[in-house]
Structure formats: C-alpha cells, structure tokens
Amino acid sequence: MKKFDPKLISGIIIIILGALAPWIISQYELSLLGRFLALSILAMGIMLTWGEAGILSLGQGVFFGLGGYALAMHLKLEGLNVANGDMPDFMVWSGVSALPKFWYPFQSGIFSIACVVLVPGLFAAGFSWLMFRRRVGGVYFALITQALALAFSTLLISQQSLTGGFNGLTDYSTLFGYDITTSEAARVIYWVTFVIVVIAFFFLKWLLGSRYGVMLRATRDGENRVRFLGHNPVPYKVVAFGIAGALAGIGGALFTLHSGVVSPALVGVVPSIEMVVWVAVGGRNILWGAIAGTLLVNFAKDQISSAFPSLWLYGLGALFILAVSFLPMGIAGLFRPGSGEERVMRRIISRRPLKTAE
C-alpha cells in the first residue's frame, strides 16, 4: 500500500473521533449525537430497502416503535416487585387491577432485548411477505405502510392502560440494575450505540457486497427479468425488509434509552416520513450517506426548531424537495467518483480535479 486510501483514512478518523466524542463535545451535544446515531441505525435499514431493494416504506416508525416499546416495557418493570402486585405508575393511575399478561415476560432483560430485534424484524418480514407474494409494490406498498404507521400510533394512544397512551412510556431509572441517569451511564450508552452503528454499517457493507446484494439490486432493477430467469424475487425483498425492521427496532430501543421516553408521537406517520427524508438527503444508495443524512437533518432540526419552532416543517419540506430535484443520490452522491453530481461539484469548487475518494 504505497498510496493512502482516502476512504480507509477517513473511515479510521471517523471511528476514532466517534469513540472519543464524550471528551470532545459537551454532554448535551453528546446526548444529541447518541440519539441521532441511534436513528441512523434505522436509516441504514431504509437505505437497504429503499435504495438497494427499491421498496419505499413510509412506516418505519412502526418497527422503531416496536423496538422502543419492547425495551421501555422492561425498563418500566425493573425494580418493581411484580409478584407482589406492583405495576408501572401509569397503570395504577389508569385504575388497572393487575399487570396484563403480555407484560410479564418483559421482566426478563434478555427476553426484552431479544424482542427489540425479533419482534420488529419478524413482523416486518411477515408483513412484507404478505404484500410481496401478492405482488403489491411501489406506491401501493408505500401507502399501506403509511396506513400501518397511522394504525399503530392510534392503537398505542387508544390503549392507555396497556401502553401509557399518548404520553407513552417514560420515567425509568435503571437497566440491569445500573443507574442510567448518571453522566457515566450516558457515556456508556453512547458507546454502545456507536459500536452498534459500526457493526450495523459493516454488516450491511458485507451483505450488500454479497451475491445476495447483487440479487437484491437485480430485483430492484427488473423484478420481472429476475423472475423470468427462474428466481423467486419475494424472499430477497422479504429478507431486506426484515433486516430493515430489526435495525429500526434496535434504533428505537437505543433512542428510548437515550431520550428516556418512547411515545406514539415518535412512531406515527410524520416521523416515518421524516425518516425517509434523512435518507433522501444523505443518499439512499450509499451507506454512509444514510448516517450522514440522519445526523445532518437532525442537528439542523435541533438548531432550527429551537430558534424558529414554526419554521422547521417548512425547512424539512424544502430540504426534501431540494434533495429529490437536485441531488437524487443525496449528499453522498457528491463524493461518488464519476457521478454527475461529483463532476458538477468539481466544477464549482475548483478548476483542478478534486482529490475525493479514489
């Protein structure tokens, strides 16, 4: 290796910076970064389904919520003596007489963590299998997932006594017996999130580079051609959607841990659409673009919505329109060698060729 690979170098720098972030940025910024990194795990899933498999889902909030609620249910039960008839606070307020049956298994941390991954993953896989095997796709699929997001948030709100209703589940203090409200705990939770982001990133890189990844792109490019070469396209799409669901669930659980709350407002139609915008802005065919887009849009949201609360939604809409019309490959597309956007950027920035990724 005589020449330095800029991709490798920037990757190493980002990983080092990410690991050292707790000492570089303020505690408030760290908590934001942790939250947004959790969201970027979900965004990588959208990159997989939307970018690589061509399946637009407007209901990723559902899988995010399933993961978030699975962990939050455990957090609510920690420290309670269930056998003694203890119940989470909101149930007491709602006048529930006994802990509902389906809450019992969530006393186990292991079970809850398994649920964080498996419930959204399997639900996404099963749901998409029902759709794809009937050849529902494209806009129809997007609309159905949107309806699913609406139904899910409505269900959560209506079942006040089981789910905490509109307020969701909040106010937890320990996980596996550790206090999660201290600043050391915040740091540990950040690192856990960061490591999971890195693992998810390399897992997806491996997956997309495999023959499965090729089949997935083939299905996106020409589902009929794939079918008439003797392949059944359904399982490839179902696996991608299931993995995206599991990633959304993991993101939801980590986000819940960071923010201390999971509520219907985080899982409904609007947040689900926002999730798609992150990826559209970042670049839906480039894995790091999904992460970058999530961080960028969310930090912008944090800044703009605290300064001008009413402006954010317009800003988001404008951002989406700009990204779709001028940067179909997102921000990451600016750096993809040979892309039209990269050429334009070169021309804008300098007359000399830029030294971007190899």
């Binding site: 495999s210 792109r217 051609r225 079918r227 070469l229 003797g230 392949h231 059944n232």
Partner: protein, 256 residues
C-alpha cells in the same frame, strides 16, 4: 417416421383479452434442439405467444406441455426452472449490475435464496459465465455496468443471459431489433451455434435475418397460424405475401 418427440407442445391455445382474441386455437410443436422462426405482421400475436409459454399471460383455454408435463398453470419462475427462458423485445438486462453479474445471476444453478450469502460465485458457474462472455463478444466489457452498453451489446448480453440459464428451450423476441446489418449477421451466427443443445424460437421482422437463419418458419396472422414451412416455401406463398411480406419493414419496433 423418426421424428423425435416434441419438447414443447401447444394444443388449441386461445388467449382472450376481454373479448379480443390475441391467439385463437394455436397448435405448435417444437422439436428438441431445433430452430423455429416466428413471423407475422404487428399484432399477429407473436409476443403474446411467447408470453403464454413463459406464463406471463395465461391461456383462456388450451394446454401447453413441456417435456411431457403440463406447464400451463405453473408459476413463472417454475416454468423457467423446467427449462424455458425468454429474451424480451426491449433488452431486459439489469442496468446497475455489471455484465458478468448479469450472466452470473442468470447462470445460477442452485436458485435458493439462502445460498446467496457468499461473496464468490461457485467456480463452475463463474467459468461458464466467462466462456459465455467470450461467445457473445463482450469479454472486454466484463465489468461494465449493463446500462452503459451499446444497444446491440445489451441484446447480446440478454441472449447470453438466456443461454446461461442452460434452458432447453430459448425464446428470443426480436434479438436483432435496433441492430445494423453486420451485427444482425453476427447474431444469426450466434444463434445457429446454439442449436442442437437448445431448441430456439426466434421472433423477428427482418427477412434478411430470417434468411440467414434459414430455419422452419411459422407465420402468425391475427392470432392464428397462417402457414408453416421452410423460408423458401413461405416466400413463395401468395397468402403470406399478401398479409406480411408485401409490407415494408418499417414496423419493427411498434409492437409492445
């Protein structure tokens, strides 16, 4: 008579699109390893006939048997797995995949999805794909994205993909559409070199191409078989001349 049992048999196949009969009582037999050329004016039902064989269109009545098994109601991918593969009229290559990836996908012997979580294609499949790459003349385009190929190259790539499936019956829908005379002749040579191992049905408008192939011709007209015979016989047939040959070749591309 020592005629081998046909590999494909269509018996009284009728396709009715809400009252419009795209095919009426079509009977067709294809022998193993043999060439059949399908001609006919636009809207004669040539593409519908291919669609019906591969299961994209289901016959309203009638029966299709392949290797002595009825395939009329099988799922599309199952029909392909039995050994029929089709090249579409507009090139159906997968644009964001490289040329070799296109061939490898087509040439997968084990089509189970759970066996795709590896990075390398099986050695034998790779060598078959590389050989095909030579044969279709795209060896120097191996790692090009299929979208970046010239039109004729896309046609060859798709022929290559169809061959890579190692199907016993290949359906080639207008393999020379959009090609110049030199490429057309090359395509004819390519197709002739595949005979024997594969039975091939070719749809085309271009009479010079049909003559270069010089196979047994079936003429379709308004969803029915008008005539069958050698190229010379068809050329000499007054009925065929009236419905088809008399017309110019300017209607190559309109049919979808």
């Amino acid at each position: 008579m020592a005629i081998p049992a046909p590999i494909l048999m269509m018996e009284n196949v009728t396709v009715d699109f809400d009252g419009f009969k795209a095919l009426t009582n079509v009977n067709l037999e294809i022998s193993p390893g043999a060439l059949r050329i399908l001609i006919g004016p636009n809207g004669a039902g040539k593409s519908t006939l291919c669609d019906t064989i591969i299961g994209r269109v289901r016959p309203t009545s009638g029966r299709i048997t392949f290797k002595d098994q009825v395939i009329t109601a099988l799922p599309e991918q199952e029909i392909v797995r039995r050994g029929i593969c089709r090249k579409f009229q507009t090139p159906g290559v997968l644009p964001t995949l490289t040329v070799i990836e296109n061939l490898l996908i087509a040439g997968r012997k084990d089509r189970s999805w759970w066996k795709t979580f590896t990075h390398k294609a099986p050695k034998d499949e790779l060598s078959i794909a590389e050989d095909l790459l030579e044969k279709i003349g795209l060896a120097d385009r191996r790692d090009f994205m299929a979208a970046d190929l010239a039109h004729g190259e896309k046609q060859w790539l798709e022929i290559g993909m169809v061959v890579a499936t190692d199907a016993d019956l290949l359906l080639l829908d207008e393999p020379t559409a959009g090609m110049g005379p030199t490429d057309t002749q090359r395509t004819a040579q390519l197709i002739l070199s595949l005979l024997g191992k594969h039975a091939i049905v070719v749809i085309d408008h271009d009479m010079s191409f049909v003559e270069a192939l010089n196979g047994y011709v079936t003429v379709l007209h308004q969803g029915q078989i008008l005539k069958e015979g050698t190229v010379a016989e068809i050329r000499a047939d007054p009925e065929v001349t009236a419905v088809y040959l008399g017309r110019s070749d300017d209607d190559d591309t309109a049919e979808a």
